[in-house]
Symmetry: C2
Subunit: 457 residues, 2 copies
């Protein structure tokens, strides 16, 4: 019966230390979400397959975890499908539910389903795990948390301005100074394609441009050519490759470059509005950076595009991202609801904080006081003090067994207990507690109220 137990690949156990560190990040994010006026919702871990399938492209459909129907699920399956061992064909016949792939589509489903109970603009946040049958690799898991905040029901750019500040507030609270909040606008990318005379090549163009950082100007141009974008079109875009300077300088150059496109001009105007407001309000520790090569999530973003990079010198992909989508709920039949949202990458933020040593020391402390167990009578006496300490907000416990002193102190050390408390017969007779500081090793004999105030500090 004995098995060698393990977790499925791509999934993880989290130890008390890891949970404490993850909760530190999550609580910081939640706290700011609350201050910014976002309210939490939760949706089920699995959805009807029809809710998820077809929403993430063909690749996405493949990566969605499907749940097998219960009972005699083969009973009604087509004979033919079975004979041909048609895995794809049989899936929808033996599986009606699937695990959540992201938080965005379930949110859209939620908004449509509960539209009559919701007051718009609706500001919600959601921090829950999602699952993807991706090939696991370093930093990529099959189960991971997403932390999303979205507003639906307003097209106002003040939301974008709020999100820039929200990123800044969270990363400042985490002491992660110097993150770069990159912004672009889908309308600027459309404008480029229009000015180039390659409106139908928008996706190919942006996919290539997105790689500028990684593969450089020449290779980007080669890729564009190979996708059928003409040399003449590309040369019109030359200024794009030389877009340097301050944000204001970039905006002015973009304005000139896109003056022939109404949509592009609108995109520049929107970015300028956001940039002006942020300049005037100020950021605590982050930097706003206009980056027109940014094209993430182009499938559904229609306005602003966000991406957050770790501070310079930390090699890590994006630690956050988001954007505006004009018709997310349209897939479920509710048209004309504009939304904008951002996401925090919990796992990557964790790695960055770990690398930079930014987790507070207090984040995973053991309990404040472990009472040494000297036997029944002493344990009962200790238990009464423990009860009183807990009622005053101090974590405390009794070592359960009257083991050798060395074993008990050893346990206290390993569990990072702050103080051990020794109560033997003598202490009981004098109403005293011997407190041992587990870091300094100092020991003193005090009455209950002194003990409580030492443990409280």
């Amino acid at each position: 019966m004995a098995q060698k137990p393990s977790v499925p690949k791509g999934t993880r156990d989290f130890s008390p230390e890891e949970v404490a560190k993850r909760n530190y990040i999550i609580q910081t994010i939640k706290h700011q979400f609350g201050l910014f006026g976002f309210q939490p919702i939760e949706t089920p871990s699995f959805e009807n397959s029809s809710t998820l399938m077809g929403k993430y492209g063909e690749e996405g459909d493949r990566l969605i975890f499907k749940i097998l129907n219960s009972g005699d699920f083969l009973k009604k399956v087509d004979e033919k499908v079975l004979q041909h061992k048609d895995s794809q064909g049989i899936t929808s016949q033996i599986s009606e539910k699937a695990l959540r792939y992201d938080l965005t589509v379930p949110f859209a489903r939620y908004v449509v389903q509960h539209q009559n109970e919701i007051d718009f603009p609706f500001k919600r946040y959601q921090i829950q795990p999602v699952w993807r049958a991706d090939r696991p690799q370093k930093g990529r898991f099959r189960e991971f948390y997403q932390c999303d905040a979205d507003v639906v029901g307003s097209a106002s750019l003040w939301q974008e301005i709020d999100f820039v500040q929200l990123y800044d507030a969270v990363f400042s609270d985490l002491k992660l100074n110097g993150v770069i909040i990159k912004m672009n606008n889908r309308k600027i990318l459309s404008g480029f394609a229009e000015v180039m005379g390659a409106k139908d090549k928008l996706i190919d163009f942006t996919v290539a441009l997105d790689k500028l950082d990684k593969i450089g100007e020449e290779k980007v141009k080669t890729e564009m050519l190979s996708k059928g974008i003409s040399e003449a079109s590309i040369s019109k875009m030359q200024p794009l490759f030389e877009l340097t300077g301050t944000n204001q300088e970039k905006l002015e150059k973009l304005g000139g470059l896109l003056s022939g496109s109404e949509e592009g001009t609108q995109g520049v105007k929107e970015l300028q509005f956001i940039f002006n407001a942020i300049e005037s309000i100020g950021l605590k520790s982050s930097k706003l950076d206009i980056d027109v090569t940014l094209a993430r999530g182009l499938n559904y973003y229609t306005g602003a595009i966000f991406e957050v990079a770790a501070p310079e010198g930390v090699a890590m992909g994006s630690i956050g991202g988001g954007g505006r989508y004009d018709d997310l709920t349209g897939i479920f039949g509710l048209k004309g609801i504009s939304g904008v949202g951002i996401s925090f990458g919990l796992d990557r933020i964790y790695l960055v904080l770990e690398e930079l040593g930014l987790f507070p020391e207090s984040v995973n402390k053991g309990i404040k006081a472990l009472f040494i167990n000297f036997g029944e009578k002493e344990a009962l006496y200790a238990t009464k003090a423990i009860k009183q300490l807990r009622e005053n907000g101090i974590s405390a416990a009794l070592y359960p067994d009257a083991s050798k002193m060395k074993k008990q102190l050893n346990y206290a050390n390993k569990s990072e207990v702050s103080f051990t408390v020794l109560v033997g017969e003598q202490e009981m007779n004098n109403n005293k507690y011997t407190l041992k500081n587990m870091i300094s090793g100092e020991q003193e004999s005090v009455d209950y109220s002194t003990m409580e105030s030492i443990l409280k500090s």
Copy 2:
């Protein structure tokens, strides 16, 4: 493309109000878990099927949600199995993973897998969802949270004493006074069977006895008879049906009744020890009640058995339960680790608090201050004040659009905002903010620091 969206049966969306109320319960439980020295762990939502299957009996196996393998999962399936449409036979060939069914088996797996990193006694808590393909009905869901605290690595009865106090502490914090913490001991039940001369009928005996509350003495006896327990055996047990009085009186009667059974006597001794300690320590608002008809989870409990009932007058099944198991990790090859744990029933506690009106009013308030949007210039001005308020821990936001005043105030009302703040041109010129209390309707014009202190209080 438009679909009428819904969630799978037995699952739920949680609105901001529901999340806030659930979090209130969870935070209360977590806080006490921490004070008692329990540390959080998390395990993956799905486990290898081999970890879960066979651990919950045949019925349990059926109720475990299985996850379909990815890719061409039919490729390697037996032709025969397909031909015979053998749903049960094919399951293990097309599914290798399954959703967590409870938190206990994954915890046992965790302890065995990480035994070299763990310092025993290991006190862990875990608050995560579990999934069961049960027929949904009132109060029974296919996805629900479990909140478990367990200690493994010590046989000390001080743990049981701690768990009684933990229940008392949590329910007292929730202002749910008068819950009844029922205790029994598996050894007492074994003792009964032994004294009756029906050791081999232990399960039948306890299953019948467990129904005493519901079906009454006569029907319990009839059921015992029908299971082959003799009339003579049953009549030996007559005092059991008349076990009334205080806990101390019950313990004394039990001591006499079980004097012929070593195991039974040991069970009475254990209960007496726990009862004495709790009598001496005292409980804040709960009542400890010895109930020898209690037999839950008999499959793996070997010592103490706990069950918590809502206060008298509230019709609700148990709102918590647990017990001691001497060999939980044995199923994964680690023998001789005694454990004891308890669980809180989140959904039922929620229903009880709702029924008794015990959720604090503050639990789901909207933000503190909503700034009315009068246009670009005013919005920018407001945004600076909002930033400062948030930095001082006050939740605040700008209404995103410069809509009609009535619409904005309406939204503020519906969202349960405490104050609206009006900043028009006049206020800007005088560095003032007009604060409107949304409950009293009172309005006053104040400077920033007065506003901050009003909003803080």
